[in-house]
Amino acid sequence: MFYKLINTIDHIRPFSTAKAHCDVPCGIYDPITAQINALTVVRMMDLMSGLSEGDAKSKTEYHNSMSRYIAVKEDHAEKAKHEIRVIWGDFIKDAHVEKYPELPGLVHKIMQIGSKCRQTTGRDNGLAFVEAINQFAEIFWAIKEMKIKKAKAPYAPGLEMVYPDL
């Protein structure tokens, strides 16, 4: 009876909630998605560079391939930024920023370099993008109290990446 009354009030004007979940929210956060997207950006830059140097392809094929590389570069730079924003907004808390005061500046830097990667074709921007996101991954895994290892990605462009040492 009393429960019904409280439950009815809750439907009209919801009370605050306290979670007794096993892990909330889902707790699945991993910067690897952003890292792979950033690697893809460098890969597209390399393909674009290779394409512009050759002249074996017909004009139509050239434009077709170039447009696709540009579209993928554009898309993956934005996806990498999105993934970082999700971790920044949903996972990182004030206590983490206090412990790693460089985090806000680093996230802002990733946003800016990501935009630069969309605006330009310079490989240096792509490398800086990967490096900044690797730095973010290092801090992320430190927050999770997990050791990391650095290894070259097993696919082109084969840049050094930060991975959790499982």
Binding site: T17, A20, C22, H96
Partner: protein
């Protein structure tokens, strides 16, 4: 001061089910007297507002250790120490939803 808070999730099942309500006393004066098996609501920097059982109170350092009662609950090790400053209050009454037999 008293607050009504709705429980979500099953970390405290079978005693508390998702959808139950609790009446919480938010008086800070009681925190030093909290004891093992008292239920508290607190804010956790990674998991948000949680309700858990106390496993140990450390009044000198003003910290608590907490746990759930369900095997899938977040371990107290994973939650870490809960400082009094993150406590919202102590559960003083449980408003149960009808249990199916």
């Amino acid at each position: 001061m008293l607050k009504i808070i709705k429980v979500t999730g099953n970390s405290l099942s079978p005693f508390f089910l998702s959808g139950d309500f609790v009446l919480v006393s938010t008086s800070h004066r009681q925190f030093k007297n909290l004891k093992e098996d008292d239920l508290v609501v607190f804010f956790h920097p990674e998991y948000g507002r949680l309700i858990k059982l106390i496993t140990k109170n450390y009044p000198d350092s003003e910290n608590l250790k907490v746990t759930g009662s369900h095997e899938e609950s977040i371990s107290s090790h994973k939650l870490g120490f809960i400082p009094y400053s993150d406590l919202i209050g102590k559960v003083i009454f449980h408003i149960k939803q009808p249990r199916s037999m």
